[in-house]
């Protein structure tokens, strides 16, 4: 019961946050240099006077500012994110079509990164001062320090020039036109390099976190008790210590969603992956503001959703926080 009440509070909070994002978008449109109507039209190669007039009346731009806010919020909340004059279609359908490829890339990378990171972190916590442990520390530092677009290009060079087993561009082979299982296999092969790039970036952070968390967990009283009652080391390590050390990893996976989305946008432009990233890149080039603001709104929504899911997951796994709000 408490669980559901908590969920309701979270949902209410999320709706407020989303309203705030809409208001932020409104402020951004109005603080941009130039006439708001022209900002909304975007630099689409000279908006006609009719289009500008239509925007002006639709968004109520000749009315008082607070009326404009209400109109804008109502429009976005109703699912109307505006119209892209460059792509010549509604922003919402434009974005919705690009979300699945990005989500596929993100979820595949996040899951793999978490698994690889935890394995590396556990190995390195087993003997914190050994050579493998130092190597893993170095790997996680390097993974953080390499800019994600550069990592992508380096992988592209490595696999494209010396070891061409993976395609370096796109999401599927257009010429071959695979169907069924062959299609899935084709997409997976195209997924390899973009996701490997994101995995290299994120596995580093997961390994660092799970290493610290394991070391902390290993120094607790319940681990000492487990050892004192004569359990073998493997069981102490993998059952008693690891299970509790995983909690921060779950939190981290949720928190990584926003940064990962940013990383995916960049990686997609490197590998021509047909998701949100390509759309972002094209909209920046065309100064297509409704699309950019729409993407900001949708991505904030996805981050909020990811937070709710993480929170619920956390409460289901950890009995200590199931008791309700602090």
């Amino acid at each position: 019961m408490i669980f559901f009440r908590h969920l309701a509070v979270r949902l209410g909070n999320s709706i407020l946050l989303l309203l705030a994002v809409i208001v932020l978008n409104f402020i951004l449109i109005h603080s941009a240099p130039g006439d708001p109507a022209e900002v909304i039209a975007g630099e689409m190669g000279g908006a006609t006077i009719e289009i500008i007039e239509e925007i002006r009346s639709r968004y109520g731009l000749d009315r008082p500012l607070w009326t404009q806010v209400v109109i804008y919020v109502r429009q976005i909340a109703g699912g109307d994110l505006g119209y892209s004059y460059y792509f010549n279609q509604p922003v919402s359908s434009l974005i919705l079509r690009r979300i699945p490829p990005t989500l596929l890339l993100m979820i595949f990378s996040l899951a793999s990164a978490a698994i690889i990171g935890v394995v590396l972190g556990v190995i390195s916590s087993y003997a914190p001062h050994s050579v493998p442990s130092h190597l893993i520390t170095f790997f996680s530092l390097a993974g953080y320090a390499a800019p994600v677009f550069w990592t992508g290009l380096m992988l592209m060079l490595l696999f494209g020039r010396f070891c061409p087993i993976f395609p370096v561009s796109g999401m599927f082979d257009i010429v071959a036109g695979h169907h069924g299982f062959a299609y899935v296999w084709d997409v997976l092969r195209h997924l390899a390099l973009p996701s490997l790039t994101l995995i290299l970036l994120n596995a580093a952070q997961f390994s660092r976190l799970s290493r610290a968390s394991m070391l902390e967990s290993l120094s607790t009283d319940y681990v000492r008790t487990a050892r004192a009652k004569g359990l073998n080391e493997r069981r102490v390590f993998l059952v008693h210590a690891l299970r509790n050390a995983l909690m921060p990893v779950v939190t981290m996976a949720g928190l990584q969603f926003g940064p990962l989305l940013g990383g995916a946008v960049v990686v997609e432009t490197v590998f021509n992956w047909p998701g949100l990233g390509r759309l972002v890149f094209d909209s920046i080039l065309r100064r297509d503001y409704p699309v950019l603001l729409g993407i900001l709104f949708i991505s904030a929504m996805m981050v909020i959703l990811a937070n709710i899911v993480t929170d619920a997951l956390y409460r289901l796994i950890d009995p200590r926080v199931r008791g309700g709000p602090k």
Partner: protein
């Protein structure tokens, strides 16, 4: 008579005696020596510092010695590295070495100033929130939560697109998009320190809120915040790289991300156009990370390291 509770009291009593003997510059060097002893504990931090110094010297002196305009077309496109053009030329025939040398100025200066903005906003929000608590805390934490919902890169990107890509907008956008961690850290430190006896006695002595925050608490809260701010420089350099890679840097300044972004479609044909500028970003970020770890060892000896 002083009551000695534990070893750290003994140490500080000893330190205050020692520092009262040292005056002026001697005292300053004494503190610097203490700082250095903490910093050099880990060889990696010293390597980071040397690397960072090398990068900074390279981008300050480099363009003065190697006087080639990074925007000038000096050779055929895609000339591989040879004795004339050590790092080759890009897709229109501009010299990569000149680009790498002068491109660092944009990347590092944006990184430094964006981190300063991050620290300024984060310190203000965090200290007000942690000191006053109550509705101020609730309100400011709601604001912080709101900014955390916006993906950093996407938010900075939208800001730069709307306000136009100049050095100032890029720097301010990165600062605006990434102050939240410093705010949370500052808030936690202020909340922790607020309960200490030295703060209570200052309250009893009638210190104003402003004095309590700036003079009594802030100096004690600074060490972990300084480390976080130093680390944020590395984050800001990476973010600047991504923005200029996407074509959102100042078009009148050469930048490492810009070189890679403009040549990315030809990476397979001319590897040198992307390898070198990226390596420059990598080494800069790496050195800042290692250095901030050293700062951590020197300023917060009891806290655990980031890497």
């Amino acid at each position: 008579m002083t009551v000695i509770k534990d070893v750290s009291d003994l140490e500080s009593a000893d330190n205050s005696q020692r520092s009262s003997q040292l005056e002026g510059t001697g005292r300053f060097f004494g503190r610097l020596g203490e700082f250095w002893r903490g910093f050099k504990k880990n060889p990696a931090s010293v390597i980071g510092l040397i690397l960072l110094a090398a990068v900074v010297v390279m981008i300050i002196i480099g363009p003065l010695i190697y006087q080639l305009d990074p925007f000038d077309i000096v050779s055929a496109p895609f000339t591989p590295p040879d004795e004339n053009f050590r790092l080759g030329t890009d897709y229109v025939g501009r010299d990569i070495l000149a680009g790498v040398l002068s491109g660092g100025r944009a990347s590092l200066s944006v990184g430094l100033f964006a981190a300063l903005i991050t620290a300024a906003i984060g310190l203000t929000v965090g200290s007000l929130s942690g000191f006053f608590g109550g509705w101020i805390d609730t309100l400011l934490m709601k604001v912080t939560e709101f900014f955390q919902v916006l993906p950093t890169l996407l938010f900075a990107m939208v800001l730069v697109t709307i306000f136009g890509p100049t050095w100032v907008t890029v720097t301010v956008s990165i600062g605006l998009a990434s102050w939240m961690n410093v705010a949370r850290l500052t808030r936690a430190e202020f909340m922790r320190l607020r309960e200490f006896d030295f703060v209570r006695s200052a309250v009893a002595a009638g210190a104003s809120s402003a004095r309590l925050m700036m003079v009594t608490i802030l100096p004690n809260a600074l060490p972990p915040i300084v480390v976080a701010a130093a680390f944020d420089i590395s984050f800001a350099i990476l973010l600047e790289g991504s923005l200029s890679f996407l074509g959102l840097g100042d078009p009148n300044r050469m930048s490492w991300g810009l070189i890679i972004g403009q040549n990315k479609n030809y990476a397979l044909r001319a590897w040198w156009t992307v390898v070198f500028p990226g390596a420059a970003i990598f080494l800069s970020v790496l050195s800042v990370c290692l250095m901030s770890d050293g700062l951590n060892d020197a300023l917060n000896p009891r806290r655990e390291r980031r890497f």
